[in-house]
């Protein structure tokens, strides 16, 4: 990756595919992976992935720091995961009920996650967050749900960042607090009164385009206390952060345990799976809520999850990602300083956000990332990134060389 890669924007395989897609897919692609939101030169289509390396349809190779926006935690095509997938595939995937691996996976998670007395599986992070609030409402018999202003909890009408097609009633029982602001949390709890079913909180504040913010211990403890006082469920949305910070749940280091947690993304190293974990108190309610899907008993993603979580435990995945993330953060800080640039690095090092100071429209961020991309590092200008267990010191160092080119470009 030391040679500059040429972004052959016109007449490239990528632009040809985008033109074809434009005809048959609204806007070319739905959702968060639409490359139209990224700087020019970013590929939309990929042909190959291995470890922390991606190859796009024009043959350009990148050290990747998005990991498919989270799911890839051990690295693409990890041998232990793919071996488990092949074995389960040779037996059966989607049958008239689960394979025994369901029980193995549920037992593994209940063993690994201290607050978890039980779990339910699904396919999307949104399945998990929606199930959490539905179970909380079923158990409490109440309706109000608190979320932090600006927090992302999924892509359906009750929580979507877009209000297109959303009715007022879809959000009738949502109230908001400000992350890390105890007074605002108390005010929202007060406002919900006797109708408070749940407080939903992300592992940390990771609003797109903004510096990330870890929860203060006081804030987390106050939230727990308010839930205990009111009988509301503390719902930890660990969809994005889950398994990168702590295998027992992202709030374990704070010593604050949720009542219900939503998990997805990294749980099966890219295979489609989500989970809800919960405390005993919510078990009965979870049987009354009807939550299901055509592929939710599919056993191959469950086999992938058992292999992924077992491997993460074996190698202490979070510690590895923390080391590599710290190396990236230190290297970026040093190089930015060298070029006289002020950057703001925030969030846990395993899930870093890198912003330029005084860059409200991310112009410098876009220029930096586009140039780093040309030098072989796939970074994101405004969303948090993701380390994986496949990142080595050499990979981080290669990315730092690419980032150096990006900083040099911005400094000019």
């Amino acid at each position: 990756v030391s040679e500059t890669q040429t972004a052959t924007k016109l007449n490239s395989a990528d632009s040809a595919l985008r033109a074809r897609a434009q005809r048959v897919i609204p806007g070319g692609l739905w959702g968060h992976q639409n490359a139209a939101h990224l700087p020019d030169g970013y590929p939309q289509y990929f042909t190959r992935a291995e470890g922390c390396h991606l190859i796009d349809v024009d043959g350009r190779q990148f050290v990747d720091f998005m990991c498919s926006w989270g799911p890839v935690i051990l690295g693409h095509r990890h041998p232990a995961v793919e071996q488990a997938v092949r074995e389960q595939t040779s037996r059966g995937d989607c049958m008239n009920g689960p394979a025994p691996v369901l029980v193995e996976l549920a037992e593994l998670i209940v063993d690994m996650v201290p607050h978890a007395d039980w779990c339910i599986f699904g396919k999307n992070g949104t399945d998990a967050t929606t199930t959490c609030i539905t179970v909380a409402r079923a158990e409490t018999g109440r309706r109000k749900v608190l979320t932090a202003t600006g927090a992302y909890h999924g892509a359906v009408p009750w929580c979507s960042p877009s209000v297109a097609g959303v009715t007022a009633e879809d959000r009738a029982h949502l109230l908001h607090y400000t992350f890390n602001d105890i007074a605002s949390l108390e005010a929202a709890v007060e406002q919900a009164g006797h109708d408070l079913a749940a407080i939903v909180v992300s592992a940390f504040r990771h609003d797109m385009g903004k510096a990330q913010e870890l929860p203060t211990p006081e804030f987390a403890r106050r939230m727990r206390a308010l839930c205990d006082e009111t009988g509301a469920a503390l719902v930890l949305d660990d969809v994005r952060a889950g398994f990168r910070l702590d295998l027992g749940g992202s709030w374990e280091p704070l010593g604050v345990r949720p009542d219900l947690s939503a998990w997805s993304k990294a749980i099966a190293n890219g295979h489609a799976l989500a989970a809800v974990t919960g405390r005993e108190r919510f078990r009965q309610a979870a049987t009354t809520v009807f939550t299901t899907g055509s592929f939710w008993c599919g056993s191959v993603p469950m086999a992938a999850a058992v292999a992924t979580l077992t491997e993460l435990r074996r190698i202490d995945g979070p510690a590895h990602m923390a080391r590599m993330g710290q190396r990236l953060r230190d290297g970026l800080a040093e190089r930015a300083l060298h070029h006289g640039l002020r950057i703001d690095q925030s969030g846990p090092v395993q899930m870093p956000t890198v912003l330029f100071v005084d860059d409200p429209e991310w112009k410098r961020g876009f220029a930096f990332c586009a140039e780093a991309l040309r030098h072989g590092a796939y970074l994101h200008p405004k969303h948090n990134m993701f380390l994986s267990c496949a990142h080595t010191e050499a990979d981080v160092d290669a990315a730092l060389e690419a980032a150096d080119a990006g900083f040099r470009h911005v400094a000019r």
Copy 2:
């Protein structure tokens, strides 16, 4: 399967797994595949699947007529699908964007489905139905959605068959009509007035535990006319029936085309995928709705879908399933008559429901199915079943022998 299989209920591998699951999964299993809803003797856990045959954890083998409740349409572990899966897996699955197979799949569906000018992919049938109504609301700027009383459109608060954890507001803008009842449809349209965003309809009426009912051409045409008059979207929920009746959509034989369709289940022969297809008019709205998920750009299920749909087209899958389904229906009718039993067979032959006449609590249905199961046929006493392209005449005949034992048992 001519020998009677012994259901070793106690001390079986199945009951051991159920006991373990009971500890870590609320109620033992969530949703529709919970075997607690089935007659005694039905297995919950499976170890192997091949074609239309299932093997449970106690080694019992069945000719299967549930096909994982729909997804398995070519048969388990179909060579063409699994070959496509292996090839795509060897390149990459869940990357920072899709693989080229996304475009191939979208083009294939737009080519195959006459009303489809575009498509969007997801993971669950519920993703697809929810996206349809959100897109319809976004395009029309209206809120009311009509569904048939008792129809199943998914497992989230706006449409779940359970109201546990559901608030009144989740369904504030739903109005209902009776399937095949034009007057009730007109009344609901009138009630919605200028706020009518969409009429949602299943391919046919397939309410659990009841005889199925095909739409009358008059009903379908009237629905189309009402949508045209009011500007509302006709949303066909083809999640369950899609690709079994007609590869262009289940209402093609009626000559009535929807504005939006929801698809899932059989689209990728058991791999997790869903789709929304739509007409040009709704394309722009589909770009404003935020619908996405962590695994929605995963390329392996897309490769499975291309292989599945290509194979279904090549072999005329719906015609094969119709022949096998007719053979099953004729054989069941003949044998029931022979035993002096009155049964009610309903719905398209590819998706049959078999009920006993005057059996409101499905007691005879349960006894019949339990005995047929002991003789090697996995039938369902109250839900529609599914044929697949893997069913041969010999498989159907073997199932008819098992059914004969079931009828004999009920007749005694």
